[in-house]
Amino acid sequence: METAPAANPQTGDELLVVEGVRKYFPITRGIIFQKEIASVKAVDGVSFSVKPGETLGIVGESGCGKSTLARCIMKLLESTDGRITFEGRDITKLSRPAMRPIRREMTMIFQDPYASLNPRKRVGFIIGEPLEVHGLGSSNEIKRRVQELLEVVGLNPEHYNRFPHEFSGGQRQRIGVARALAVNPKLIVCDEPVSALDVSVQAQILNLLKDLQDDFGLTYIFIAHDLNVVRHISDRVMVMYLGKVVEVGSREVLYREPKHPYTGALLSAVPIANPELGRSRTPIVLEGDVPSPVNPPSACNFHPRCPRFVEGHCDVEDPPLYSFGNGHVAACHYALERWPMDADEIRRPGERTKSEHPEQPLPA
């Protein structure tokens, strides 16, 4: 029978399994006797898994916890709760030295190509540093490897001795990619790698990432706020809202038949570069702003903005991730019956969501 990979991850061949990860940042009062008065629930119980060779896209608006989640996976932040398993090994509680060999297997590409490269180091050093840290080869071997990497990402190997400021934004992002590739990782976490770039340069980097995946069999976790970009690069897509997963599905299904009203609103809000198509639809305009993660709304935290909010249900009972088959899951009691829907249709709450496998209600 079919299982939902997002919530039911144990099939054995996953590269990365994340279960119930939470990250709360404490808000304290007092200088010496710091008392925790509240916490920012940046990531609140997220579970998913990634198979080798696939690309999982994570979309959400600013403040939904997608970058914090990336940092928890990379263990740049200690998660408050939950379990992260990489290649069958629980890495949640590993110490820094014990974590070090695993850092060879998972690397990261950062958003801002201007801030993520040390301006006082030469490009050769920046790309070669991970190799040095992990003791992979003599200085001559490292130099050869760096020049090879520069070639792979489409830069001139002779630019080995240049400084970051001598490169344009797109070229800098290529340096970031080369650095992430240096240690031959299995998993690369890309945190908004193209959002700071112009469209034409963005296309170059997206094509490069796809080529590298084919050549080296890489697995990506690709975080972005641009739904078009995520659709282009991902095999599966996970939508987050206020620290929680609202929907996961394969790229085709999620964009063709979104089930969660938030996913629907997001899709309808994306401007389409086609005036005839774009103007013929009426976007579902959400009211208000994303609430504060310090004091998120009760139960389904989307309910104050949701067009199909049902009082006495959505604000009381936390929706589990209902399954819609083939690993498509959505956390909504009144999932969308079809798509596209316009703003009026969406306001008529339909039937209660039933899981395709009601005998196995999936945990949130």
């Binding site: 112009d198 469209v199 078009n228 389409i272 570069a273 005036p275």
Partner: protein, 340 residues
């Protein structure tokens, strides 16, 4: 008479390294109630064009030529005092970053009323009432209390609404919006864009919309021009631009856009980087990156000329019409396949 008639506008900046030509020979008109979109990548000169019209470039190192006729008067030759009467009153501007374009130490009420008090002979009470009215119009809840809040108490989308309220407060005839939604999330962007559409219907202002996002242009603009390296390379109505693009750069932009309405395995990328405006390439500015480059492109600057079919569709390319139609059709076959 058009509201704004810009003729052969050029702007250069004197820098330590030499003269940077940021805008070269741009001409366009804006009619009442029209929305004009300017698309281009960073450094293409789209913002500088508008800053020049508004007289907001630093005087010290800017060289400007051409004309920008506002209801017949040349904005570029106006005395600073006269220009100040136009700016913020007849023409107003929304800037990209709502985080940095509001003054953090004044309440938004004070910043909103400043514009009215400068241009109108009214009491503070009247100005405040007008500010409240506008805050309501742009959809700020509890405007009565929020008017005395400081910018940091607002979210990004709310600040952008305040900026729009501020720009509209004197009922301007022309609103220049410089990337008004770039710093915002998609759902907030949708809110702001639909707000701008309704406000335009209510107030009847003309809008110049500067953006790098072809999607935003497709949603909002009536006419569009595409800029590349300080030049206009194509100019058309929004429907023509998207259904019959004529310039290789426009093709490149459209092809490199990942989109929701079509499946493309590989994006068509434009090779290379945008050129330095300090030493731009000779001939057609786009020739080093153009896949259709010919010998003539390297030496001769093509003229911005109407296409044979439509006198209002202008483009700047040496390619023959037949190739253009074929290539445009090829591109559209891919990107519009699912749109039908």
């Amino acid at each position: 008479m058009p509201l704004l008639d810009v003729k052969d506008l050029s702007t250069s900046f004197r820098t330590e390294d030499g003269i940077v030509k940021a805008v070269e020979g741009v001409s366009f008109t804006v009619e009442k109630g029209q929305t004009l979109g300017i698309v281009g990548e960073s450094g293409s000169g789209k913002s500088v064009t508008c800053l020049t019209i508004m007289g907001l470039n630093p005087k010290r190192n800017t060289i400007t030529s051409g004309e920008a006729l506002w209801k017949g008067d040349d904005l570029l030759k106006m005395k600073p005092n006269d220009l100040r009467q136009v700016r913020g009153n007849d023409i107003s501007m929304i800037f990209q970053d709502p985080m940095t374009s509001l003054n953090p130490v004044h309440t938004i009420g004070r910043q909103l009323t400043e514009a009215i008090l400068l241009h109108r002979d009214v009491t503070k009470k009247v100005a405040r009432a007008r500010a409240l009215e506008l805050l309501g119009a742009v959809g700020i809840p509890r405007a009565q209390t929020r008017i005395d809040d400081y910018p940091h108490q607002f979210s990004g989308g709310m600040r952008q609404r305040v900026m729009i309220a501020m720009a509209l407060i004197n009922d301007p005839d022309l609103l220049i919006a410089d990337e008004p939604t770039t710093a915002l999330d998609v759902t907030t962007q949708a809110q702001i864009l639909s707000l701008m559409k309704t406000l335009q219907e209510d107030f009847g202002s003309a809008i110049i919309m500067i953006t790098h996002d072809l999607g935003v242009v497709a949603e909002l603009a009536d006419d569009v021009f595409v800029m590349y390296a300080a030049n206009v390379v194509e100019q058309a109505t929004v429907y023509d631009l998207f259904s019959q693009p004529k310039h290789p750069y426009t093709w490149g932009l459209m092809g490199s856009l990942p989109r929701l309405d079509a499946d493309v395995e590989r994006l068509t990328q434009i090779p290379g980087q945008p050129p330095s405006l300090l030493r731009p390439p000779g001939g057609c500015r786009f020739h080093p990156r153009c896949p259709y480059v010919m010998e003539v492109c390297k030496t001769t600057v093509p003229a911005l000329k109407p296409t044979p079919r439509d006198p209002n569709h202008l483009e700047k390319c040496h390619l023959d019409e037949e190739t253009k139609e074929r290539e445009a059709a090829k591109l559209l076959a891919v990107t519009m396949a699912e749109a039908g």
